[in-house]
Symmetry: C2
Subunit: 700 residues, 2 copies
């Protein structure tokens, strides 16, 4: 049987091979396996068109197990990290070892692919675009062979397949969020392209005007004494850099020194190209990204519902002749246990009494906050003590607002002490006092609040506090132990102690309500920023690999105390007298993957990038600038704008929901879901309206 594509409409009748549809027959283990896989696919938004035969289902359950997934990600990480050990390397290792590790990685990927191929129908497998992985693996093998033979023959060889590595991260089954992000970018590209063309047109027109107005002037000179604005291509490049503001106001100064009228030209240019066009880029990126993301989410909701239809079809039974099919509580319990083995009975009961079948998948993801009302373990262990008057007074004190204010004051005093010189023994010892105070605070809170509620998954600040204070305690103890025993202070441990000390201060923002709202929004977008981080790492990795092949060894960096005579020009005579060497940018090079990544971050920040560019153009060829301009367009104009759009959207959503903190997350989720379902039935029409009633089960 064929699984519908997620873009297809849902068929009129729920299909299901070999399922005793509408009968009261007891469900077999295979039925439960199948139903549970549908539910957990819906729960985790998996879209795999697996074969529904019992063997394939068993394989599929194994495929989704967390162990093979962790192994896979580990080997992807290993494969990507190989760049650290391969030439040009941070830590050089013989090529043979890296190759063997790479082959091992490829083997793991192949095994995973074979597993995948057995799970889904043969015809689907070959059509799946994710199987670009196969091509990547094959190309890598080919590259390895070619490289090894060229090396053996002492020829010049390039490991070009390294550029393809990040594709594995994108195209594994679990990279679906990353794929979604890339798809959204791809869909937004045409619109961005038109604005970019218009922007380029404006750039070319302004450059032409600059050439006519300034180039033919009698002898304007740049600060280096070079002729000013005489070469059209150079003007275009200078004005492109001006859009990023990186060479403002230097590019303007010669003309401005000649007459202030020319400043108007540059101001107009900046207004149009830097302010208006860059805003238009943001608007276009934001608009398109949002539009396509919305569409993706809509499809996701549709696919999820479809999977729940299938799960229900597997489990349903007909109570009375002609009556509506329902799912019995026994079956419900079994399926919930299969999908989420560690669920509490209370939670399961709650789900059964409150929730329609179709909503199960979403609600399993929610942590129910019933823990709050649970009594403190000390109260159960020794009620006479815990409920005594002094104990109650302590609880009231800790929960009082003054307790928070007191600790905010302590943090403030701590901040001043950190700022002071730590060589002073009084101040060094004060650290122990502060540590004790913070520890006391955590213990008091644990005494007053139920520990499991205190350390619940969403209590970010409690986790933060505890981890920071305990690590600081350990680091401080280690540090003083080392200092007193060996009279030796480890700089690394001291650094960690300092960082932890300063991090503790952050806690103060949680006490201020206005700050908390902003911080909570930022914490909430955390996971999405991680997806974004993967995306940028993929792009950086590709550019780093290409950059290393193009520029490795062209610019050398030296230790600060090195006395190499070529140090002043980064070991390359071509850099003599360039701004690149003058600013001591030698360490901004492509000599290994770490330097490359840091350099790419600097290029993302954009400032001084023209100096870095000029440096690399000087040691290779002017056309090297194209590499950097391409990077700028891809990363700064497209990806950073998506990031900004993303933060904007998160805050707009935050401002529009605002005052709904009183609702429990369960209620909110139910509301959301119903909204989604209502929206969905609106779009699919009456067919589903009828089906919708099928899902309501009745308490027996």
């Amino acid at each position: 049987m064929s699984e519908p594509d997620k873009s297809e409409d849902i068929p009129d009748e729920p299909a299901g091979k070999g399922i005793p549809n509408g009968g009261n027959a007891a469900k077999s283990k295979e039925d439960f396996d199948l139903a549970s896989i549908y539910v957990s696919d819906a729960q985790y938004n998996r879209n795999i068109y697996f074969d529904t035969s019992p063997e394939a289902v068993k394989l599929y359950i194994r495929y989704n197990h967390w162990i093979p997934k962790v192994i896979l990600f580990f080997f992807i990480l290993v494969d990507l990290s190989l760049a650290i050990f391969e030439k040009p390397a941070v830590f050089p290792v013989p090529t043979l070892y890296t190759m063997l590790v790479e082959l091992l990685c490829l083997l793991v990927f192949t095994l995973r692919l074979v597993h995948y191929a057995k799970v889904i129908p043969r015809d689907k497998f070959w059509k799946d675009p994710k199987n670009i992985c196969i091509i990547v693996i094959l190309l890598t093998v080919v590259d390895l062979i070619i490289y090894e033979s060229l090396e053996a023959a002492n020829c010049y060889a390039v490991r070009w397949s390294r550029v393809l590595r990040p594709l594995l991260l994108v195209n594994v089954t679990e990279g679906r969020q990353l794929r979604r992000a890339f798809r959204s970018i791809r869909n937004a590209l045409p619109q961005i392209f038109y604005v970019f063309l218009l922007f380029m047109f404006s750039l070319l027109i302004f450059s032409l005007m600059a050439l006519k107005l300034l180039g033919k002037r009698c002898g304007l000179k740049t600060i280096d004494g070079a002729p000013y604005f005489t070469n059209y291509l150079e003007i275009v490049f200078d004005l492109y850099v001006l859009v990023t503001t990186a060479n403002s106001p230097d590019v303007m100064m010669p003309a401005y020194n000649a007459s202030f009228v020319f400043a108007i030209f540059f101001i107009l240019y900046i207004l149009i190209n830097t302010y208006i066009f860059m805003s238009v880029f943001l608007a276009v990126v934001y608009n398109n990204y949002k539009k396509y993301l919305k569409e993706e989410v809509r499809q996701l909701v549709r696919a999820k519902r479809h999977k729940m239809v299938r799960a229900f079809a597997v489990l349903q039974e007909q109570r009375a002749e002609g009556g509506e099919p329902v799912v019995s509580q026994a079956n419900w319990n079994q399926i919930v246990k299969l999908v989420q083995p560690d669920i509490s009975n209370a939670h399961r009961e709650l789900l059964w009494s409150k929730v329609a079948f179709v909503q199960l998948a979403d609600l399993l993801n929610i942590e129910v906050i019933t823990l709050k009302s649970r009594p403190h373990p000390l109260q159960r262990a020794c009620p006479a003590f815990y409920l005594s008057a002094p104990s109650r007074l302590l609880c009231r004190l800790v929960q009082h607002r003054a307790f928070v204010i007191l600790y905010d004051l302590i943090i403030l005093v701590n901040a001043v002490f950190i700022g002071l010189d730590e060589e002073n023994p009084l101040i060094a010892n004060s650290e122990w006092v502060f540590l004790a105070l913070y520890l006391l605070e955590i213990l008091l809170k644990l005494y007053v609040f139920e520990p499991r509620a205190f350390f619940s998954r969403h209590s970010f600040w409690n986790w933060f506090d505890t981890v920071i204070v305990i690590s600081a305690l350990i680091a401080t103890v280690v540090n003083s132990a080392m200092t007193s025993s060996q009279n030796y202070t480890s700089r690394q441990i001291l650094d960690i102690v300092f960082i932890l000390r300063v991090l503790r201060l952050i806690r103060v923002v949680d006490s201020i309500k206005r700050f908390r709202a902003i911080i909570n929004t930022l914490i909430r977008i955390g996971p999405a920023i991680l997806t974004f981080g993967q995306l940028i790492i993929v792009v950086y990795y590709i550019f780093a690999m290409v950059g290393m092949e193009l520029f490795k060894g062209k610019v050398r960096s030296f230790e600060d105390d090195s006395s190499d005579p070529t140090k002043a020009y980064c070991g390359n005579p071509l850099l003599k007298g360039t701004t690149f060497a003058q600013l001591n940018y030698c360490k901004n090079n492509f000599n290994n993957v770490v330097s490359s990544f840091i350099l790419l971050v600097e290029l993302t920040v954009v400032n001084q990038w023209h100096d870095i560019l000029d440096g690399f153009a000087a040691v290779t060829h002017v056309s090297a600038k194209l590499f950097f301009i391409l990077f700028h367009i891809m990363v700064v104009i497209v990806i950073i704008n998506i990031f900004v759009a993303f933060v904007l959207e998160a805050f707009f959503v935050e401002y529009s929901v605002d005052k709904s903190d009183l609702q429990t997350s369960l209620e909110k989720k139910i509301e959301e879901l119903e909204l989604a379902v209502a929206q969905y039935t609106d779009s699919v029409g009456s067919v589903d309206q009828r089906k919708d009633t099928n899902f309501r089960h009745f308490n027996t």
Copy 2:
């Protein structure tokens, strides 16, 4: 009688002193004056609570006449431009003259205020916040007297009231859009302030960490050999500058040269503070600005409707006993003629037949595009010729798509010719050919299209073409006349010729549909950008005045060919060896109002602003940096973000309407209005629902 404040709700019954309510009595001239003033107030969104006595109404009509308004704006401009002639001056003029001119300006403003005071009720006048103008005028007079006496006594004197001048621009009756923008900013400030506090907290925490991690390191040095990151306040400043990316990657290089681990600190800092916080600023500004602007627009619609209620109340008559009050066509015609004397009969008829009374004010603003169907004047003058076969063929050719493509090709060839060296006589003469071709194009289009339709108000590109080509023709003729007669080429005229030549190329974007959409959006937000321009000029002016008092003469600029020995350090020994002097930034100074404005633009662009700051701090005091940081917060964080928010909003609106170009602007406006009215009645409730029917008049 009291006029309701725009924030008040509309009273239940329309008030009107001495109006024969409900009678059929003929309307007096006073009635028409009053009604017309209500309608035109609604039309131009004026919110003046004028007295309704016939004398006050007459004065009010005169108050709204365009001549006194133009005179007022002229004198505001003169007042603001005085900065060019006052010390420190671009063109020095004796203090006496500028003072006399300023007194004249003050006299004009006072007269205008007296006129205003006579128009509105006494008690309203004294409560109007716009009358801050009176205080400004008084303070200016006081300042003039003090300054003059101090000057006479040869004491040091400061013209501090110059800072107040832009307030006049904001607080004149006609500055209401500017006031609205400022109000929106003021309302958004609290929210921005909280994010700013959090941002500052993050900055301080990172600085503390930098001090602990890097400051105590054994001897890190900056590129100048100064100690690196040892002073807390300097670290805070350096990291603040890093948020603007202006000192990236230089500020990181010493630490990065020591170890690449420190780069992680800076990357984290940039991620959090530059990317996330700056996006949050944009989000907060965008969200608040939009929210308050929406509220303002809602109030505007309400006030407009209220004025139309009043106008209707003045003009209404009762047709039948107990029937609904209506406005007769005769009265309607008279009021439309009064409000818009130059309206065509056809347009008036259209309004009468299509439009409810309440919508009149909005629809008078719309240019009806009935002109298109009008026959060409040549056709009326000489139909036999104009409708002959060759003439028709010509029309078809010009309207053909190939004609557009042909001219796009000509523009392209022209672009190449412009790029080539104009010293070549062949290329110099080709200019005449291109000019002739462009002129021919305009003439052909005028032959084919009706001239008034061709030059209608919204045909931006036709206007653009014609103005550019005709100016280019004139400039080129003048230029070659001068060259041939006196053998002398004026550089200024040649510049204009070049600019016009290049500008002609812009026309090509109009032929590409995708570009046209983007350009049209940009043209549509043009007027709003002008309001925005006024806003930024007000802020710049205030900062320029303060800056000139603080820093005038501290940095001197020299001509390029000057041989002054102090030229290398901008005439101030304190600047010896600073980056400011090395980069030849001498012309970036506060020595006159033009330099100040250009410098403020450079500071808005942000790049290298720390070098400029350091320069000014070197010649005065470290605290001078506060002036620049304040400017950065006000202009870059608040105002530029509003500008970006503004462009974003314009494009979002553009994308959401998209395919409605088929509608005429009239239909669209009607739709908009009805939307606004529906929204409005929803919020005001049933009282207005009833009144709403009052406005419908019937065709007699």
